[in-house]
Each structure stands twice: as C-alpha cells, then as structure tokens.
Symmetry: C2
Subunit: 449 residues, 2 copies
C-alpha cells in the first residue's frame, strides 16, 4: 500500500486535542465515554488481586513516591506515575476491557490510569475529565487507524504503541499544555512505544497498556516544564508513523470529518476471548427462553466460525485459564450458570464435576459461512424437545452492544469479593453523574479498598 502523508499531522492533531471542549461532544459521545468509564473501572477492580498485580507491586513498591493516587481495588497508594502503571496492568490483566474492533486497540487502559491519577492529585472537574478521556481515546484510535493494518501486522501490540499518545494527549490537556508543549508531549510519547505481540500469553501483555499510561503521563509532565522534543513526531521522515509502520494514511488524523471512534468502542459481556462470545450468547438466550437447567440437557450442538476451533478447542480444561480456551466449557457454563464472568472461568468451575459432565455433551461443527460474531446453537433435552437459536450479532459486538444495565451489572460482578458491599453502587453513582462532579478524583477514591 502507498502511504498518504500530510505534512502537518502533529499540528492538526494538537489542534484537535486542545481545541475540543466538553461542550463540543455530542450526547452519544458523552454517553459512550460514561459507558467506557464504568466498564474500565469494573475491569481494573476485578483484576486487582491477580497474580500479575501482586508481582508488579512487590517488585516496584520499594520505589513508590508519595501516596498520591489510589490503586483500584487495593489497599496500597502510590505516586501518580506508578499508579498509572499499576492501574493500567490491572484493567487489562483479565482481558475483559473495551475493544475497538477495527484497530484491535483497547482504548481505555492506557488513558484512564493516567488521568485518574491526575484527578486525585489536583482536583479536576468531571467535565474536563470526560473531555480528556474522549480526546485521549480519539488520539490513539485515529493514530491506530492511520497505521492499520501494517503496524499491527508487523508485530506491534498496538494498544501500547498508540496508547502512549492517548495518555499524553489526555494528560497534557488536563494539565494545561500550550500547543508547542502538546507537540513536545506527543514527541516524547512517540519516542516511547510499548509492546510486542510476542508477549501475548504472558504478564507482559497487560504491562503494555500500563507502561503506555505511565509513559504518556511522563511525557505530558516533562512537556509542561518546556522539556523539548520534535514538533513533528508523527509525520517526520524518522518519526513514529514511518519508523513503526510500513505504510500509512494520515487522513483519519487530519480530516475534521473523521467520525468519533469512541462510538465504535465495544465491551465484553463474557470473561474470555471474543471468539466464543456468540456461542455463550446463544446458550444463555436458550436457557432464559426455556428455563433450562444442566440436568435437563441431553446434548448441546453448536456451529461456529472456523476461528473458534483454532483458538478454543480444549476439550477438558483443568484450570480457569485453560477454560477460557475451551468452547466446550463456555457452552456448558452458559447453560448451567446462565453467565460467563470471571467466576465461571475460575479454577474451581473448571474442575467442577457437573460442568465437566456437561462439557462432554457439547458437539462442535465448523461452518465457514458463519461470521465471527455469529453462531448457531441447538439444545436437545432428555425430554426429547429441541430448541434452536441463530445468533446474528453476539451481545457485546458493535451491532448488538451491551446495554447500560449489563455494563453496570458487569461492574457489580467484578467488585464482588474485592470491595465492601455497597461500594459498587457508590462507584456507579459517581460514574453516571461524572459530568457533574466537582472533583473527578472521587471516582478513583471510591474504588480503593
């Protein structure tokens, strides 16, 4: 592909970042920002006790600065730079956070940890906070679009490599950078990309958005002091776009008509890879419609996109992590429990005899005519009855988004066992009226133990 380059990409992006006010955001964009905030906050709390977090905190807490910011779902406090890293890890470690399908970027994970810390450190209005969140997300998604698909194909973990720009833009906007300073911040961000796809499957994957948040925040703080960098970090001959992508089209960054990308953000209803979500969705629908229970089931027949059996073919998973890669387990828990959250992908659930029995009743057929968000599910009951459903757009996909109530329930579930009872309602209340808050730092404070 040929590259299409504008010579003033960084200039125009800076203008967008600093020129966009809360008042300019359409109602749908504001609403999506609120949904993103609720979804991300739930994920960060839910991931707070993961082994990845324990190790990161054990390694780095001897070097923490003053206790300026909350580590969501935890008792410790940290300086805002370390809080950005740690909260970023936490929010991505379950792989349960938001996804922008076209770029494969997880938009919130690099941005929110940076600006939540800033909000705790010096009071910021909820409106400024939401505007920064939107602008940060648009910045990383538009840069990601400009470099899609070549940049991802080369092997970069695009959430970390573009996320650093999102964090720098959102943070820089909140701390009042001038236009030249914002260009410096983008330059400092460009010099610190994070993330290779080789790290997928290891703890380093969730380190990527956390480090991106920390790097972007650092970039903004340095730029505020007049720490100089390039003013043309994106488009320069040896700048980010040309060095990190074999081809680009800068139009998504420079064109004022580029649609709001946050409107294409999607949220996972189920705590596993998107690929098995249609099967889970179908099973839960049938369970609800027909009042199914595990002991009624003779056989579960699912037809799936070919990718499903490339990724989730484990028949007899023996751990929660392995269960996330088992379409058999996914179908079984969806029928037996009517849910597929972290609890349904726990070690205990993977080893539960009732679930193991039901898994063996699942038969999988591959159907190349099905789309990635599609599946057919048929349930044969011991009574002889047969129930079928065709899932055209799985819940959580862009065409069939999770409802606000579902996202709120997801947060409630993720808080269970981590925060005291009732706290989820307090967090939801603050997030729902984020645009009226005098101090957006209250959101972070409400999410600490």
């Amino acid at each position: 592909m040929d590259s299409v380059f504008s010579n003033d990409v960084t200039h125009k992006l800076t203008h967008f970042i600093l020129g966009t006010r809360f008042e300019d955001l359409p109602a749908a964009v504001r609403h999506e920002a609120e949904r993103t905030l609720i979804n991300w906050t739930g994920c960060a709390i839910g991931g707070a006790r993961h082994e990845t977090m324990t190790k990161a905190i054990a390694a780095l807490s001897p070097f923490f600065g003053p206790p300026q910011a909350t580590l969501l779902g935890r008792r410790e406090r940290a300086d805002i730079l370390h809080a950005a890293l740690v909260n970023g890890i936490s929010s991505h470690v379950l792989d349960f956070d938001d996804t922008h399908i076209e770029t494969a970027i997880h938009p919130a994970a690099p941005v929110l940890p940076a600006i939540l810390g800033l909000a705790e450190h010096a009071p910021l209005s909820g409106r400024d906070f939401l505007a920064a969140l939107v602008v940060g997300i648009e910045t990383e998604l538009r840069i990601g679009l400009a470099a899609t698909p070549e940049h991802y194909r080369a092997g970069w973990h695009i959430t970390g490599t573009t996320g650093v720009f999102g964090a720098a833009a959102a943070s820089g906007k909140l701390i009042g950078l001038s236009e030249p300073q914002m260009r410096f911040a983008l330059g400092l961000a460009a010099a610190q990309p994070v993330g290779l796809q080789e790290m997928f499957g290891s703890m380093t994957k969730s380190f990527h958005p956390g480090r991106a948040a920390q790097n972007g925040l650092t970039a903004a703080l340095l730029a505020r002091q007049g720490f100089t960098s390039s003013q043309r970090a994106l488009e320069a001959e040896r700048g980010w776009l040309k060095v990190l992508s074999s081809a680009c089209d800068t139009k998504p960054i420079t064109d004022p008509a580029t649609p709001w990308q946050i409107l294409d953000n999607s949220y996972k209803p189920f705590a596993c890879g998107l690929v098995v979500h249609p099967v889970i969705d179908g099973c839960i629908r049938l369970r609800r419609q027909h009042g199914l229970a595990a002991e009624m089931i003779e056989r579960i027949e699912v037809a799936v996109h070919p990718r499903v059996m490339e990724v989730t073919a484990i028949a007899e998973p023996q751990s929660g992590l392995a269960a996330k890669f088992s379409v058999y387990h996914a179908a079984a828990v969806a029928i037996a429990e009517g849910a597929a959250g972290e609890r349904e992908f726990s070690d205990a659930m993977a080893c539960a005899p009732g679930i193991a029995q039901l898994r063996r009743r699942v038969a999988v057929a591959i159907d190349g005519r099905l789309g990635k968000a599609q599946a057919r599910v048929a349930i044969l009951l011991k009574s002889g009855a047969r129930h079928e459903v065709f899932v055209e757009h799985a819940v959580g996909s862009v065409r069939n988004p999770m409802s606000d109530a579902m996202i709120e329930d997801k947060l409630r579930g993720l808080c269970e066992g981590i925060l005291p009872p009732g706290r989820a309602e307090r967090i939801l209340d603050l997030c729902r009226r984020a645009d009226t808050l005098a101090d957006a730092g209250d959101i972070a404070r409400s999410a600490g133990v």
Copy 2:
C-alpha cells in the same frame, strides 16, 4: 540483505550474561571498563546543571520515591528508578560520552545509571559491578551489531533501543536472576524500546538513554518477582529483531568467538561532534609544537572530509550550541585556547571578539580523499612562517585512543564548578581501584554534591 537467524538467540545471550564472571574478563577488557567508567562519570557530572536536567527534575521530583540514590553532580537524591533516568540524561546531554563507532551506540549511558543505583541501594562488590558493566555493554553492542545497519537506517536511536537490553542484562546479573528470569527480563526490555532519530537536536535525545536505563532496571526488578514475559524475545517471529529491523544476522550474539566489543569503545576528547575532531587535534598539535598564540596567526587552512561541511559549516556562531556546529570556531579555539572542552563551546566563548576575529582567518577546503578521522591543517604566521600537520587518526579515534591521563583530565575538567575542589581526585581514586571496592556504591556517593 537476508536475515541469518538462530532459534536460540535469547537462550545463548542469557547464558553469556549469567555465565560471564569477573575472573573471565581479559585484562584489556577490565581496563577498558575502568576507562569507560571514568569517562562516563565525568560526563554525568559535567551535564548535571544543564537546562535539560533542571527541567526533568522539576517535572518529575514530585513523584520521586525514597532518596536511595545519588544524582551525580547534584544535591538531590531519588529512588533508584528515577536516578537511573536522571543520571542517564545527564551523562548524554553534552554528547560527550563514549561511542561504539560501528553501531553508533553510546554504550555506558543506559547501563551505568541502572547499576550505580543498585550498588547504592544494596552493597555490591566492585568486581561484580565491573562484570555487570561489561556484560551490559556487550549485550547492547552485540544486539546492535546483529541489527546493523538496517535498524539504525530505519530511524531508531539505537542507543535507546538496544540500551534497554544492556540495562536489563547488567541489572539482572547484579540482582541474581535465574536463567528463566533473565529471559523474562530481556522480554520486558524488548517490549520497551526507546528513541527515534527525529528527536535529535532536542532534549528528548538525552532522555532516550536515561529512559532505557530505567526501563531495563524495571525489567530486571519485575523478572526477579517472576513477572512473566517471552522466553524468546529476540528471535521470535514477532520479537524485537524481526519487528524492529528489516534484516539481521544473529551471529554476533550467538557466536562464542565474537570479540569483546567494549575494546572498540571510544571517548571524545573534545566537546562537539566527532566530525571536527581531526581539525581540532591538528590545531592543538601545531600550537604545542610551535608555541602558537592567537595574535601570531595570519591564516588557518584546513582540508577536511566532505561530511565536515555538511554538518559544521556555521561561519559566525552566536551561541555555544551553534559553535559546536562550526569548524571555524573549533579551529579558532583550538589554536587560541589549546583546548576544546565545554568551556570553549560556551556562549561566552562563541561571542568573544578575539575568537570571532580568529574564526574569520580560517579557510576550509574539502578533500574527498581524506578519511573521517583525518584532516590537514596549515598555519600561516604573520611572521611569514608556515607550519603544517597531517592528522592520520584523530585523538580519540579507535586507532589513536585517548590516554588514561587524558580521560582523567577530562573528568577533572567536567567536575570544575560543579563539585568541590579535590572531589575529582577522590572519584578517580575510587574508579581506578573499582575492582577492589567492597561497596561500588561509593563511586556514586562520591559524585554527589
């Protein structure tokens, strides 16, 4: 170029890192490590009051952790992670530190800031410290060689992109990582490359090695806690070598016969780009041989490699920074002052009338037959006498290295006005007997204000 890949690059490199003991280092390697240490320490002290440092510390000190480590040449103390960043900036900000010509890597700047902090935090013997320094430098230089020239040509600032491995290797060795942990540390390093050439000419250039030091140290600390990453970060299909370089030859990393690269490290005698060093060398030689002074000079004729006039053609520099890009100024101060240190490239010297007059007496001819380390200098005196010299290998080049005494004098000059009188001798004493120190942290402590 085709790539030559070994499938066990990370494994073999890890073996080299952990298997190399101080006792295994040839005497010449130990001696070069000592020279590198003295040269780097001088540069870090000399850069300590640069505006770049003032801004970095102003931006980041509100987030510093406990005062665990010295900031060289300064009064402040910081946690070891921030000290790695800040000392790394300081040591590169004058562009006066060491250079490995074949790769263009500045070897010490990412490694020493990481391990000096560790040495201050928990006592380490001088022998372990020197072994880690050598292994860190070899690690970054061998990875750099494997990706040369494609990686640099693509636009990466190779000091930051390979330096993170050097810092991780040296730090990981000192904190006792196991082989799998060291591979994790290299994986965490691979995910955090720093530096684009677009940032040259701005403060972000010296930020690169500092951040690389901090990232590599962070990688080692995480790996010690069992924070997982790839075990094959260098050679994997979506690992560092293939993603960050269009071609590679991994032999310099895997071949046990690879020569010690630190033996090719070079040190700058003059505080400006290497390109004008031959001219300065020639002028100083003539001044010494013939007892020259500014008022005796009618005309200075220099013949230079074509690159010189591409980079340093400013005829009438009005600032110290501009003077570094003026072959006219370089020749004039070398004749008038017999030196070309930071003092000779100060704003005051750039504007001194006597120097400005002498600059106008410099005539430059381009000669394509001259090598990059060569120059011819002829001085015509008002008396009618004419003196000439041909510089075949400029002082400081690999073929004509600075003597130990010159490197020590360089450190003394860089300490002037920053540390109290006599302190330079204390630092030199510690560095010279580094292999006998019970606590290598004393080197850092001796360099604080």
